[in-house]
Symmetry: C2
Subunit: 153 residues, 2 copies
Amino acid sequence: MIENSCTYDSILQSWGYKLTTQRKILLDIIIKNQDKHLSVEELYDEIKNTGNPMGLATIYRTIKLFEKIKFIQHIVMDDGVLRYQIIDPDERQEHHHLICEICGNVVDIQDEVDIPKEQDALFSKKVFDEKGFKITRQKIQFYGICKKCASHL
Amino acid sequence: MIENSCTYDSILQSWGYKLTTQRKILLDIIIKNQDKHLSVEELYDEIKNTGNPMGLATIYRTIKLFEKIKFIQHIVMDDGVLRYQIIDPDERQEHHHLICEICGNVVDIQDEVDIPKEQDALFSKKVFDEKGFKITRQKIQFYGICKKCASHL
DNA sequence: GTAGATGCAAAATTTTTGCATGCCG
DNA sequence: CGGCATGCAAAAATTTTGCATCTAC
């Protein structure tokens, strides 16, 4: 869990980008909502709620910048809406998602839970032999029912 | 592999929808390009190439209809663009994708290749115990390099 | 002070909707 | 023939861009 944005501030500056109020606010919002995977629209609303509204153009531009310097990455749900999440510099490893089919909420799983090593040599070999496709990495979406929704059933 | 659209034609009519020229053309294009996963824009262009151009509005409306009656389903790539594929009535089972990181092409894998059963009871139990999340199904994107691109390296 | 960043408004895209006309059943 | 479907154009929604102004360094 990432606690604050100071590491990012200095990285931003080391890339030669200015540390502006807007960039700090946007990064804060993304960090504060690590578990939420906000869309541009949701980011816009969250920022408006802080009382320091920001132009949509700035949000789009800042997001592009943050993706370029690997502060954040986007994930895409089944509806095609891009949602953004902070990348912890310490854990750049691939991670996967638990997606609730009722509320649509997305939860990350990574090393907290051992993903079974489905990408075992045998499987990769079979795909390569049959399809000529060399697998290098994978992303899994696990669909199901989250704790909260299960409790409301 | 689906060969033609007659089955779909009669299903369409059994739902009470009219079998129009446009619907036939769109379905044909989707079936002919089963391996391509075309976006709306690509569908529009393909249809224009047949010499019977169709209004974009009609394409959007027809796609919605086809999704509703489960003729097609969409998949979503990392860029958030929705792409459409025919659903073979015979094999409604979940399937996965091989995505080439070079050309972006998407290939389906399903029963042709045995997906290792990563959703083993132990893993699901662990996720449930640690996250309270009940996994019911999953989608995997395998990223890598396709045969064609590998041959150009 | 100056390069780069922001805000606003206009433009470019993408998708939806209203309505007159057309065509399937 | 009657109603659903289509095409077109307008509207709505989303994202990008140009430019004047502002601000971090």
